[in-house]
């Protein structure tokens, strides 16, 4: 009977387990183990050569320590209060006189390692920080000309400022928001003294205001949808400029697509301007190839026509940058061969060029991600022009978004060159592709828990026909951290960089260097790999559009406050050799430091030559497993390979157990102190009763003071108790799904002949 029952029971148990795993993933809104994120700084920058207080907020910033920056010209120390103790989340930041102007990045080192970064601006103007509400005309904040104000947008309100100017003066008002990582879509209005609108800007542009009468003017600022709150910060600059002065915008961070610009070694030496009028074929601007031209898509529906002569068989490469220069444009090129004379000339299409395609399929923002939520492509152009017949050719360049827009700032740069094969790389922390409708797009700092391996997805934009393989490597990593690049194969666009921290690594932070290396025309070419990250930890991309951007550098940290929940690694750190067509069995060790929901993790394989390894299950309840690789099925050719196994697991995560232990110790100490003080107090009270008259007063005073101390100790005890309860509650196990990646494994596939 028991035997009969056993099988169904086992089936039910198994079914329940699977269901639990699926459902825990399905309902687990928690994705990715906690990572420190610096979300705001106030102010968001400062003037060169000044020192000022900066307050920060963020996620998981417990035990925040060093505030550091991507440029060494900016330094910070903890602000100390009057009592000599650090004021929480407040730093004194100093900007050196020679610190370059522009956007730098701030990040903070915490218990869990380095935080995500926040744009930090360095400029020349004096800056102020708004410290009082200014949401009515009556309490508008007065700004001096040529100053900059740091503030946070008040939700469902309008922030009011005033300035004074004289008739004929040219005033430029600029507001940095999206370009400094803010969630604010700013609307800036210049109004008269009564608040009646005179000039409005809603598309993120500058207001260029010719002052009609001497007097006071009002700046009204609000969100496009009147959004606001701490994450909607902005920097408002009011500048007085001369009539013909070219006024630069406030600096802005770069979008991901910008990584592929400029081509290595590009200079401005041979640059030429476009010459209007050149809209019509008859007005074509004569050029010779190669060429390097700057121009703009202005006025509306502008067409820039260039004419050149080329011979059959010539191959040219055409590159246009405009969107990658931060402009909202979509350049498009048509090259035509011209035969005959106007008005009977015949034009034959040679090539039509538009868009740099994303190197990998990006998410279509469907039910859940079906690719990374990062677009490394661009609406700019890199394309090939093959001349099919001798003679005159014309190239027409248009902005497909420019039919009705009149913005002279929509500039472009057009380069036509002989092939200069090259590549540009960008990487981001690998994003999970869950199947349960999850659309999170979290910002992920490279903050390794000791024992963890973090995968970075790297994509390449190839230039001018280069299709060779690209090796990936990193330098200047913290002690105990290593990086293994799973190269981008020939003709492919994607590789993986694995960054691993040893289980016993000490806490550390460096600004690492990240490169790709390839052999082009017999020469070894090394190019930097830019890093990208989300600006915000977006939990659902349907309710908030993720906004990825490039980072200024590559901060990498390791922390040991918590260890990785599991480390899967080969039993030996060696080169695993196998003969082509045969089988390789690799024993794996599972160093487990957490409980998991579910008994197994399904692992897939990263790494060229081995991506076809069928997914396999590895136990989460055992300390070892084994993977069998069938080289015959994989058809992997002889050579050296790096691979890794990855999968998703639901971790029963206990947050900040250190805090629980510390709170326990604190409570114990408080208890001991309270007990000691109580005993002392009792003793003194008794002494006071029996003290001689002459000493009674002083004895009673001592007893009273002791009683006060007891009271204070009891209060401290209560606080310590609350602290422990809070820490214990925080540490209660939570189901969190995250990516688990094995440490890299090196395999050498030997030719079959050699074995023979």
């Amino acid at each position: 009977m028991m035997r009969q029952l056993r099988q169904p029971l086992a089936f039910v148990a198994g079914f329940c387990l699977v269901t639990c795993l699926i459902s825990s993933t399905a309902v687990a809104q928690l994705v990715c183990l906690p990572a420190p994120r610096l979300l705001t700084t106030m102010p968001m920058g400062g003037q060169v050569g000044t020192s000022f207080d900066v307050t920060i907020t963020g996620d998981h910033l417990e035990n925040a320590e060093e505030l550091s920056f991507s440029n060494s010209g900016i330094t910070a120390t903890k602000k100390l209060g009057k009592d000599g103790q650090p004021v929480p989340n407040t730093y004194v930041v100093t900007i050196a006189k020679d610190c370059p102007q522009g956007i730098h990045e701030a990040r903070i080192m915490t218990r869990l390692g380095v935080s995500s970064t926040r744009a930090f601006n360095v400029g020349l103007f004096p800056e102020i920080t708004r410290t009082r509400p200014n949401t009515t005309l009556e309490n508008a904040l007065k700004l001096d000309l040529n100053t900059l104000c740091n503030a946070v947008m008040t939700a469902q309100n309008i922030d009011f400022y005033t300035f004074e100017a004289t008739k004929g003066q040219r005033i430029v008002v600029d507001c940095a928001a999206k370009g400094i990582d803010s969630k604010l879509n700013p609307v800036v209005i210049i109004a008269d003294e009564q608040g009646m609108d005179l000039l409005v800007e809603r598309r993120g542009g500058m207001l260029d205001f010719q002052v009609p009468e001497t007097g006071k003017y009002v700046i009204k600022l609000h969100g496009l949808t009147y959004e606001g709150g701490p994450h909607h910060f902005y920097r408002l600059a009011v500048r007085s400029v001369t009539k013909d002065e070219l006024v630069p915008r406030l600096p802005a961070i770069q979008m991901v697509s910008a990584f592929s610009w400029p081509p290595a070694g590009l200079t401005d030496q041979s640059i030429r301007p476009e010459t209007e009028p050149n809209n019509q074929h008859a007005q074509a601007q004569k050029i010779t190839l190669p060429c390097d031209i700057t121009g703009n898509f202005f006025p509306a529906a502008d067409v820039d026509t260039f004419e050149f002569t080329a011979q059959k068989g010539e191959v040219w490469w055409v590159e246009v940058a405009s969107e990658r220069l931060g402009r909202p444009t979509d350049p498009s090129i048509v090259v035509q061969h011209i035969s005959g004379q106007a008005p009977d000339e015949k034009r034959t299409d040679v090539v039509e060029l538009s868009d740099i395609a994303s190197p990998v399929k990006i998410s279509s923002n469907g039910y859940s991600y079906d690719g990374p939520p990062y677009n490394a492509g661009s609406s700019d152009i890199i394309g090939k022009l093959e001349i099919k017949q001798d003679g005159v050719h014309r190239l027409q360049l248009r902005d497909l978004f420019g039919g009705t827009r009149n913005d002279p700032q929509n500039i472009y740069r057009l380069i036509i060159r002989k092939a200069e094969p090259d590549f540009a790389l960008v990487g981001w922390a690998l994003h999970m592709n869950l199947r349960n409708g999850d659309r999170n797009a979290l910002s992920k700092p490279v903050a390794l828990r000791a024992g963890a391996t973090m995968p970075i997805e790297v994509v390449v934009v190839r230039r001018d026909g280069f299709d060779g393989e690209i090796d990936l490597f990193m330098e200047n990593l913290p002690d105990g951290v290593t990086a293994a690049g799973l190269k981008i194969p020939k003709g492919k666009t994607r590789g993986i960089m694995l960054i691993s921290a040893e289980a016993n690594a000490a806490r550390g932070l460096t600004s690492a260097a990240f490169f790709g290396q390839a052999t082009i025309d017999g020469k070894v070419v090394t190019r930097p790999c830019r890093m990208a990250s989300m600006q915000w930890p977006v939990k659902n991309a349907w309710s908030e559009v993720p906004s990825p951007r490039l980072l200024a550098d590559v901060p990498v940290s390791v922390s040991n406050s918590e260890l990785a929940p599991i480390t899967i690694s080969p039993v030996e750190n060696k080169v695993w050799e196998v003969t082509a067509g045969e089988k390789l069995s690799i024993p794996l060790v599972h160093a487990r430091r957490s409980e998991f929901s579910g008994a197994n993790i399904t692992l897939k394989t990263f790494g060229t030559g081995f991506e076809g390894v069928p997914a396999f299950d590895a136990p989460l309840t055992a300390d070892a497993s084994k993977v069998d690789l069938d080289l015959a099925a994989l058809k992997t050719q002889p050579g050296d390979y790096k691979i890794s196994f990855y999968g998703y697991a639901v971790i029963k995560y206990q947050e900040n157990l250190e805090a629980v232990a510390a709170a326990k110790t604190a409570l114990m100490q408080a208890q001991q102190e309270a007990d000691a003080l109580a005993a002392e107090s009792t003793k003194l009270a008794a002494s006071a009763k029996t003290a001689p008259d002459a000493q009674r007063a002083s004895a009673e005073t001592a007893a009273k003071e002791a009683a006060e101390k007891v009271k204070a100790a009891q209060a401290a005890l209560t606080t310590a108790d609350k602290q422990l309860k809070k820490a214990t509650a925080t540490a209660a196990p939570k189901d969190i799904v995250d990516i688990i990646v094995s440490t890299p494994i090196t395999i050498r596939v030997n030719p079959a002949e050699k074995a023979n």
């Binding site: 598309r203 496009l224 067409v303 978004f401 827009r405």
Partner: protein
């Protein structure tokens, strides 16, 4: 096809032989002495009979999706070949019986000899019956080979003065390609554009009623139309008219003189200020504005106030609230908020900056990029189907309703399906790329030859603008911009007309052409000279909207009193007085807040945002007040979506709703302030009248209000005590009473 047309099948051929035989026998047997059997043309004779009998109306055999009981005719006979096929070939030819034409199912049904849902349409003794019988008899061919084609139809007379109560017989004459003419008065169809002014019989007799003005009768014959325009005079003595301040007055007063309708005098200052502030800024004048205006002795103060109002952001807010529902700024999902706010703001900012109207339309029409960087792109988010795009653009900016022409020739107009799809071709190269926001694409010009397929003929058509050639469009050129060029050209017969007509209606309640977005030859303006002058003025001003508003509101025509004199009460279209109209939903809500001193909070918007500045329709959904008073839901390009009629629900809402009560009882409201204030009761009443009506109270009004507020109350013994001090509730009651007057609820 050609062979089919002449002898569509062997079956027909046999019928023709039989037919000839019957005819021959008939001729031999009976010498009828009737007119010789001249060839009957299917196109020129038979189809007009069917049209006149109403067989091919939309409700009968031209009903979409199979006609009536399987017998399908084209609407009003526009597709004669299709009709021929239906009648002769379909149903195995069962509808015709050439051997005995009178036994043809077609005639049996039409004459009611066989049960027919449509009744007896062609009695046996009717001319139409005889024509069809003869056509069958002659072989029921599509073409006789000799018939000319119809070129035009002309009504006679084309215009005239018709006195009230008089009748006039219209004559319709068809002209053919061979120069021949035919009196088709008995076969043409007639339709009055204002039935209350003039009725027209089936035979073309126009009977004019007792409303003075201009009325048109459309005469339609086989796809050709002609219009008779009647001036119906009142005939009263027009001894004086106000001074002509500009061309508007010149043409309006000339028309009034022609029709003998004496205008009301120019209204007083208080009425003017309230009227023009409501019409330009969608709000009441403030008490301060009223006092200053009434006190001013400047002879140009009316012109100056118009200038000042047009400079105010309220003007932009108010007119944005007019345009954005027509441009379908609709919130279907929470994520639409950014697009909707950006689009509304674009319209509003453009109006504030007085961007020329042609440029505004061009920016919308040729929008590319993302919504945030170029907000008119949001229109393409709302209106995705190219057919809907062309229909909306045509109706909104050209005043032309093209919807009918998608499936068949426009019944009242010259627009064919080719015209429809040629217009669609302008929208054929719109490229879309997905963005991070669900349902929101970025828009670009997709390189390629612009063309659209006529779904009926299968022909690929290049872009043409309502029949106008616009030249070759290269694959690189965005055809929408070419359409924009055509629209804003000075010669365009629709673009300026549609706008001035729409704006005229905004200020004068009735458009020169009604409905304001149905401009066609068969629907002429009530004052063609004024229409032409407005068009010319608007075009020559460079499509300057503010100048147009100025021309209208600074005229004495706009400033006439709404009080009728002994003659012009019946006038509904000649502008001999100002026609009062109920305040729009948003304006009324703001005005109530203004009078009660209350505020209405709207989601996502800062405190103090007025209802006229609401960006999209989501606020209508969430506000019972706005819904009841007819704020549109941004689903249609028709202004008729805004309900301006009155209803019981509106009255009840004003009289007794919790919303109004809470406004009266607002803590910081006017009643509460009055109850706390030390100023005299007279001063408070004066303030209320200024706030509600922009004028001070008349002595009798002041006395009534004073009596009510200070009415002595009886003491314990029932004896009248001293005059009381008004309570909070008394003030609330007075505000409530003023709020419910017509003078408050109407712009007059």
């Amino acid at each position: 096809m050609t062979t089919l047309k002449n002898a569509s099948s062997s079956r027909l051929f046999v019928y023709s032989l039989l037919n000839s035989l019957v005819v021959t026998l008939g001729c031999m047997g009976v010498a009828w002495g009737a007119e010789p059997a001249s060839p009957v043309s299917f196109v020129n004779d038979v189809v007009p009979v069917l049209t006149k009998a109403g067989c091919n109306m939309g409700v009968c055999h031209a009903k979409a999706g199979g006609g009536q009981n399987g017998f399908q005719l084209s609407l009003l006979g526009f597709e004669t070949w299709d009709d021929y096929e239906s009648m002769v070939k379909e149903g195995h030819g069962r509808r015709l019986f050439p051997a005995v034409p009178t036994k043809s199912l077609l005639l049996m049904k039409a004459s009611g000899e066989t049960p027919h849902g449509g009744g007896n349409k062609l009695p046996r003794d009717s001319e139409g019956y005889e024509l069809i019988r003869r056509w069958i008899e002659q072989g029921a061919t599509y073409a006789t080979g000799q018939e000319p084609t119809l070129v035009s139809v002309q009504v006679q007379p084309e215009r005239g003065l018709v006195n009230m109560g008089e009748e006039l017989q219209l004559k319709a004459e068809a002209k053919y390609s061979d120069g021949s003419t035919r009196d088709v008065s008995h076969m043409a169809l007639y339709e009055s554009n204002i039935a209350s002014m003039a009725e027209v019989s089936e035979s073309g007799v126009v009977k004019v009623n007792d409303i003075p003005g201009k009325v048109a009768v459309m005469v339609r014959y086989q796809g050709k139309v002609s219009v008779f325009t009647a001036a119906v005079p009142l005939g009263a003595p027009v001894l004086t008219v106000p001074a002509e301040k500009n061309f508007v007055d010149k043409h309006v007063f000339a028309n009034l003189k022609e029709l003998g309708i004496p205008p009301s005098p120019v209204c007083d200052d208080a009425t003017f200020l309230r009227r023009v502030t409501l019409d330009i800024c969608g709000r009441f004048p403030t008490e301060k504005e009223s006092e200053a205006f009434l006190a001013s002795t400047d002879v140009n103060k009316r012109d100056q106030v118009v200038e000042a109002l047009l400079r105010s952001p309220n003007y932009a807010d108010y007119f944005a609230s007019k345009w954005t529902p027509l441009l379908k700024n609709r919130r279907d999902a929470a994520s639409d908020i950014t697009a909707n706010f950006a689009f509304h703001a674009w319209v509003r900012d453009s109006l504030l900056a007085n961007v020329p109207y042609d440029q505004l339309v061009r920016e919308l029409l040729g929008a590319t990029g993302t919504v945030v960087s170029n907000p008119p792109v949001a229109w393409y988010k709302r209106v995705k189907d190219p057919k809907e795009q062309l229909e909306d653009i045509a109706q909104l900016f050209l005043g032309v309703r093209m919807q009918c022409a998608q499936c068949h020739h426009h019944p009242f107009e010259r627009w064919s399906q080719d015209d429809y799809y040629s217009l669609a071709a302008f929208f054929s190269q719109i490229g879309r790329k997905p963005t991070g926001i669900q349902g929101e694409d970025l828009i670009f010009h997709q390189r390629g030859l612009a063309q659209a397929k006529n779904v009926k003929s299968g022909e690929m058509l290049k872009p043409m603008a309502l029949g106008d050639e616009i030249g070759e469009i290269s694959p690189d050129e965005d055809p929408r911009l070419r359409l924009g060029n055509w629209m804003s050209s000075k010669e365009n017969p629709f673009f300026a007309k549609a706008l001035v007509n729409r704006y005229w209606k905004h200020f004068l309640k009735r458009a020169l052409i009604e409905p304001e977005d149905d401009i066609r030859d068969t629907n002429p303006p009530t004052n063609p000279e004024l229409m032409a002058a407005l068009e010319e003025y608007f075009i020559s001003s460079g499509f300057d909207l503010k100048k147009l508003v100025k021309a209208i509101t600074q005229s004495n025509t706009y400033q006439l009193s709404s009080m009728p004199n002994e003659y012009n009460l019946l006038d509904r279209q000649n502008y001999s007085r100002f026609y009062p109209r109920r305040l729009q939903a948003e304006v009324l809500l703001d005005s109530i807040d203004h009078l009660a001193g209350s505020t209405t909070r709207f989601a996502n918007l800062p405190p103090g945002t007025r209802a006229i500045a609401l960006p999209d329709n989501s606020y209508t959904k969430s506000s019972a007040f706005l819904k009841v008073f007819g704020r549109p839901s941004s689903a249609s390009v028709c202004e008729c979506e805004r309900i301006q009629t009155s209803s019981l629900a509106q009255s009840l809402h004003l009289i007794n709703s919790g919303e109004i009560k809470s406004k009266l009882a607002a803590g910081g409201g006017r009643a509460a302030q009055f109850a706390r204030s030390d100023s005299t009761v007279e001063e408070k009443i004066t303030e209320l009248y200024l706030a509600a009506f922009s004028r001070k109270p008349q002595p009798e009004e002041l006395k009534t209000a004073l009596d009510y507020l200070t009415e002595p109350v009886a003491d314990a013994k029932g004896q009248p005590a001293e005059k009381k001090k008004p309570s909070l509730k008394d003030y609330q009651d007075l505000i409530w009473a003023l709020m419910n007057t017509k003078e408050f609820l109407f712009n007059h």
